[in-house]
Symmetry: C2
């Protein structure tokens, strides 16, 4: 696959590189006396220089003959030199900032490339929204490789989105310079059922010679997983058990081991490597979703590398998992992922291999960060007005909006039971009293009312459900970050606070809010598609921190509860989810009523 | 890169594969109870089944649910199942047969794919000749991936060839279905000197997103090797010392470790792996050149695997080196090189991992060989008449043709000193007596006269030299296999036998001949471009065996001396070579006179 992400194509740079390597033309930059983390051979090599020209590596070895009067010499002083880190699967929108601010946050942590799946903005604004993010990316040194969102809507027929992507749109984007493949194919039921449209989406990508990325969230690793991989899917980041990750690698699939802000899979899945003496070339480390506070407080891939070391993975293997293995997964290893002649000069200097502290980052041969700070200016980018006016709610929202009239004295309802730090949920039940002919939240059972309001086309569609696990006694939360359709999701103990939370976001153009007793305790305005803020990442991080405190204030003890909340509407994850069209049984893929029919409890709910 | 070598493109097969994996549609074929050589994870897995449909793998695991009434079940009975072997660098012409007969010879030994560089036929017949070989290949089950010859002529300006390839020809072939990259870039001086035309040849390949294969035969592994790799060359099969192979891998270049009929590099270069605890993903095993007798008597990659085991490489690593590593080198790992869902069902069954005895071979899911014999019929293919009439010698050849008139009583001449089993030679000298005003061979010093006659355009060009190392006392040999221009090369102790040997080949349309005292002792007619025979491989092998006996009969004790002879004209290998234009100093790349000027001996020949 041709890489459009380097400063100079190799075929334009090669004559100069050959001359520089031989000392006939001085290098632009020479890094001296580094300890090379050689990801090709899994070795440390001491006292290695790297000569750089045209944004590419001309020589690795002794580069003293490559230094001229104009050459910038960077003295590494024995520090560790590794290829720039790459995140093989990331949704920038989860950081609640645009690609520019995302780049500002992650580059100082050693990230030089990301494979981003902009399926959040695509659900809201379609391919035009994806184009905006590509344009936002172009002003940054970060190599932002796009995988075209494959599942917009995520589960067709079960939700309303702002846009829809089919095979024709996929084919069109495969010609985009910024596109390297297909975004996570979450519709594994469509793949497994040989659905022509789903296979055509994959097929258009394969025909273009590009990479299909995956999302197989079932624990099953037999016929289903085989069927999924046989259909052309090359990688998957959804393993939560070591056995799943191991089986994927055994079946020739790249196992992307995930450690994001809210999904801490690594403790389990690292065992696929540490407890088995296997060739690890099919293992990759990814973040999937990080909120801004994680990026500013903990870092990005440097943090995930530290976590990998804690789990017992050796440092060179871990670094291979964010460099050469990732590049090979995307068949971009001829350009990226190793410190070798001809490759893009995307490099990091590390103080040591224990803390993985990044002291300097180069992209295309230019120093772009030192000691934790970006050292280059980026041009400003403003998202267009149509991208910042995405709240299209049909009716005024009042407490009445959230009423669920029912009959009888009490009702057994289905409940989505969430757990901290997990992407899956469980379908359980609760018996709720009926008050004034209405179903209400019952904080004494930790059962809260949830609603999803369609916000893209002003249809007025709305779905109701109940959720357990947040342990909030009084208050409400609202979010337009509500995967993947990103309609307006509201949860609360009472209808008044629910209405206030929702209306607060309508006014803000989208975002996340926490409300109690008629007071807004926390607000993160996200006016770009209702997903991202135009503010700098540290300011957004501060707002999110304030929001987390507001969650705590109203009684929630979860890690990043707003991320767990945002998955309540994601109907491609098991077991029970809520969209603007209603409650979805995500194991059988059908709508189910809020109320459990009498006598159905025993037969329907084998998972309880 | 899109693979055009599979029976069904994945995007056409995926819906069926998904159904087969889940047992909804029966598999075409199921292999049961194999011990899987898992090249993805470097593991052995016992009791594994593989389900096959549409020529591709649908499932790896327990496939009992994939068996229907029409399914062919192959009981492996615990035998080892590995991906089909691939040779990453091979010149089919060296086997002296067309691709069809080559396939017949190697498939039973487990070879399912070759990356062939048809630069021999291209030097004689141009791209039209390459097309013939592609057509010959199409009738075989063997996946014959072509790398377009990059260096025709091998060393421009130093020899006359039948054809010339430039950047425009390279660009044109990159659209061919059968072409996956560029053939070995032997013109490393052109790369190192930043020659625009040489870099354009590489550049056209890179722009097409395809692979540039290499040939860097210098022991230098510093600035020169860096310059070569930085220019976009991805692999090299020319390492003869372990240090060279190791350095190439460290610089992110695929080190193709060679074990051909006449070049036995593995004993040395295997140490790059066995003496260093490195990641071996950049190591590949290749044959480069095999003559027919090696294929019929010893095998192909199975033989090289056995050699690898003898050198201390573990069997799974060795098998990775002819499967997944090779596929990753060519970025065809999404289709070839592993036993995994979606991949082409190119598979071998091995009796054990010691003898590497191949009991069954499948290509695209079809059994194509069992117990050493091809089990499928191939359509006949006849090379066109213009391909079998390639001897265009201007003048009738007589003993007079080989006269070298000189003055004086004795003359110091440059001598090409060859050694058995080595591709390089040494430049030495000899003092020859002048008899009747002529320079003649002097068998007492093992110094034989050599001549190269242009045979493509009837120009009458002819170059003379002397060679040492064959130890022949009486007789002559001629060959139209004379790398890479494949002019008519003649060596002998006397001019009469030289003329007979040459004329024998003119009559045969090309080939190899051994002559003594006016008798033809051995003849291998190679009428296809003067390089290949239309006969079955075992018959050609018998002819070659007879030829080798004839070499022995006239006093030569070398291993495959005709292969060593055929390199005498290859001006891209050190140190001294002979073309139809004269003697070439292949270190400085200039013509040198046959006679050493008086007083020049000390200063010019530092290598002696």
């Amino acid at each position: 696959m041709i890489n459009h992400f380097c400063r100079t194509p190799l075929w334009e740079a090669s004559r100069t590189l050959a001359a520089v390597a031989q000392g006939k033309v001085p290098a632009d930059t020479v890094i001296r006396h580094a300890t090379l983390v050689n990801v090709c051979t899994h070795e440390l090599q001491e006292n290695v220089d790297v000569a750089i020209s045209q944004g590419r590596i001309a020589l690795v070895g002794d580069a003293s003959h490559c230094i001229g009067g104009e050459t910038q010499v960077i003295e590494a002083g024995g520090q560790y030199l590794a290829p720039g880190f790459m995140d093989g699967h990331i949704h920038v929108e989860s950081a609640m900032v645009g690609v520019g601010e995302y780049a500002r946050a992650v580059i100082p942590h050693g990230t030089t490339g990301i494979f981003m799946d902009p399926h959040e903005i695509c659900n809201v604004l379609g391919l035009e929204g994806v184009s905006c993010m590509a344009e936002d990316a172009r002003r940054t040194p970060l190599k932002a490789m796009i995988t075209t969102p494959s599942c917009v809507p995520a589960v067709p027929g079960f939700e309303d989105t702002g846009s829809a992507i089919g095979p024709e749109e996929i084919r069109r984007t495969m010609d985009w310079d910024s596109v390297v493949g297909l975004g996570e194919m979450m519709n594994f039921p469509g793949i497994l059922s040989s659905d022509p449209r789903t296979h055509a989406i994959v097929g258009e990508t394969l025909q273009a010679g590009k990479i299909v990325t995956g999302h197989y969230s079932m624990p099953e690793t037999g016929p289903g997983l085989n069927a999924y991989i046989a259909s052309g899917v090359r990688c998957c980041h959804e393993s939560t058990r070591a056995e799943e990750a191991l089986q994927k690698m055994r079946l020739g699939m790249y196992a992307m081991l995930r450690e994001g802000s809210a999904w801490h899979d690594l403790h389990q899945v690292a065992r696929s490597i540490t407890e088995h003496a296997i060739d690890t070339r099919f293992a990759v480390l990814v973040s999937d979703d990080n909120h801004p506070h994680t990026l500013t407080a903990q870092g990005h891939l440097d943090h995930i590398l530290r976590r990998a070391l804690e789990e017992g993975i050796d440092p060179i293997t871990a670094i291979q998992m964010v460099t050469i293995n990732c590049a090979q997964c995307f068949q971009l290893d001829h350009e990226l992922g190793s410190v070798a002649p001809g490759k893009c000069a995307d490099l990091v200097l590390l103080r040591d291999l224990k803390t993985m502290e990044v002291t300097r980052v180069l992209i295309d041969g230019q120093t772009v960060a030192r000691d934790g700070r970006l050292t280059v200016e980026m041009k400003p980018y403003t998202y267009p007005q149509w991208a910042t006016g995405s709240m299209h709610i049909r009716d005024a929202i009042t407490p009445e909006t959230f009423r669920i009239p029912v009959q009888g004295g009490q009702v057994t309802v289905r409940v989505m039971e969430v757990a901290s730090g997990r992407v899956d949920n469980r379908e359980t039940q609760a018996v709720l009293p009926v008050t004034d002919g209405e179903l209400r939240s019952d904080p004494s059972q930790d059962v809260l009312k949830a609603a999803v309001l369609e916000r893209h086309h002003g249809t007025g569609k709305m779905g109701f459900g109940f959720v357990r696990g947040f342990q909030i006694q009084n208050g409400a939360m609202a979010s337009t970050v509500a995967h993947d359709a990103h309609n307006l999701l509201v949860i609360g103990t009472n209808e008044e606070d629910m209405a206030l939370a929702a209306n607060t976001l309508v006014e803000a153009g989208g975002g996340m809010a926490v409300v109690q007793n008629g007071q807004v305790l926390g607000l993160v305005p996200l006016p770009i598609a209702g997903l991202m803020s135009p503010l700098p990442v540290d300011q957004v991080s501060a707002q999110v921190e304030q929001l987390e405190k507001a969650w705590e204030q109203i009684g929630c003890r979860m890690v990043s509860p707003f991320m767990t909340m945002a998955l309540i509407s994601l109907a491609c994850l098991p077991e029970l989810r809520l969209t603007d069209r209603g409650l979805v049984d995500c194991t059988r893929f059908c709508f189910v009523p809020l109320e459990v029919p009498e006598g159905a409890a025993d037969s329907d709910f084998t998972n309880i």
